[in-house]
Symmetry: C2
Subunit: 279 residues, 2 copies
């Protein structure tokens, strides 16, 4: 057994999506597209002392309960101390819970010598997210890196991915949280219709500009825009920038210097060229 292992998982902003529930969590998921980010989550896993019988999860120095992480550890049948550090706010649409789940799976596999393959680990993390209701597509996107297009839902055995072959500077500002679980528990017909339309558009023209356009249209049609988010996107548009809303959080992201140009003081990162990786 190793003493510890560390994984970095990029953040993931979903621009648009459609929800695809299924009884088997590894088959459930979402279609859609998003940006993986150089801002992400660093997850370190180590075995707990022998007398301890429960896993501990820490995010940015504070003990926290993150259900998908618990499910991953249970599935791997290990008891561990999971310590994560994140550049990103929790609950604001950056896929932190997915990153925690995937990072835990990758690092625990190494520490405890589980001998699982990458796809098996991604399947476990994806299934845990779906089961916990915290996300539908972040994990498979975070496994992939870049600017993934999720053509078919589900874990790696089921899904089909493509990507926009580009990279970009990304700016973001976050005004608060939105509950993914609440939105997904509500009426999703309109959202799903809007998500499918956005996906067709991006498949037809897999460029960053068409992604941003499709994302803005989706946010409006799915009626997820809050007033502050709509206002901020408008400000970026006014200076000829490209911005949209992170699904699901009260967060606006923009390409290049869109938010700075509009007078905001955004966090700055870039699209992440790689998927989750062991340090």
């Amino acid at each position: 057994m190793r003493e510890e292992a560390t994984a970095f998982v990029p953040g993931h902003i979903t621009g648009f999506f459609s929800a695809h529930p299924a009884d088997d969590p590894t088959m459930a998921g979402s279609r859609g597209a998003g940006l993986t980010l150089t801002d992400g989550v660093t997850v370190t896993v180590e075995p707990v002392a022998e007398e301890a019988s429960e896993s501990i999860v820490i995010l940015d120095g504070e003990m926290i309960e993150i259900e998908p992480v618990d499910i991953v550890l249970e599935t791997l049948d290990v008891v561990a101390r999971v310590e994560a550090e994140s550049d990103l706010p929790l609950g604001a649409g950056f896929g932190i819970s997915g990153a925690m789940a995937l990072g835990t799976a990758l690092a625990a596999n190494r520490v405890f010598g589980c001998k699982l393959s990458r796809n098996e680990l991604v399947t476990i993390a994806h299934g845990a997210e779906v089961q916990a209701g915290t996300g539908l597509g972040d994990v498979v996107a975070q496994d992939c890196g870049g600017i993934p297009i999720r053509l078919e839902p589900g874990g790696p055995q089921e899904n089909k991915l493509d990507a926009i072959p580009a990279r970009a500077r990304v700016e973001y500002v976050s005004f608060g949280e939105l509950s993914t679980a609440d939105v997904l528990a509500g009426e999703t017909d309109q959202l799903t219709a809007a998500g499918k339309e956005a996906l067709s558009r991006v498949v037809e023209e897999p460029t960053l500009l068409s992604f941003m356009y499709a994302s803005r249209l989706f946010a409006r049609e799915a009626e997820l825009l809050t007033e502050e988010v709509a206002h901020t996107i408008g400000d970026v548009t006014d200076v000829n920038g490209q911005a949209s809303m992170a699904m699901l959080g009260e967060t606006v992201f923009a390409l290049g210097t869109g938010l700075s140009d509009a007078g905001y003081e955004p966090s700055v990162c870039a699209t992440h060229p790689a998927g989750a990786l062991l340090r």
Copy 2:
């Protein structure tokens, strides 16, 4: 049209493989596993002057003909100057031709605004390699990064990939070239049988150690070992290191400090965490 675009494509050492021909080059390919490397090829594409009607390909400062690159440019219907720099020797089992083809596809798509998706570009580069007879699995592995396991052959629309979730320092020494085209044109039944057995082993235990073991067994059973390669692998084994032969080149690669420990003066790199990327 942009002035130029640059892509980096990791080198790829195949440890073992089985060949799977098909009439459609995007369906043909190989099963197997290998290491993508931080040593790779940087490919810069720019439009040629208007009066020129032919593409130019340059590798490490010298004009060169690389058929898969020509096929990629013809498929994209562009005339370009392609300038590549490589850390790796040509023809020695590092997937240079695949890297050149994939890098050209990614960079040309950006320069000429072709608006193709990542999968489409990988399909074009993979098909070009197969058509030219220069490789069967490097391109899809180089698209993926890490330590890819090719479960099903073909381009991204057809194949199935997994990966060994690990990373490693990699050392290599190269004694010369082997022609991929010659080996593939010969009798491949024994090679294919050995490749399938090696793949079963790595699927059952997707770890670096089992990959190295399966690769050594494959090289012996497929009767591809040259005297110098066999001798060098033996030297690394004698110091308890892990080494095998790169398919296809007269090249020995080792994990960690295997070759240094055995008294060689190897080139040193590491597994590359990401697939091909735009700079």
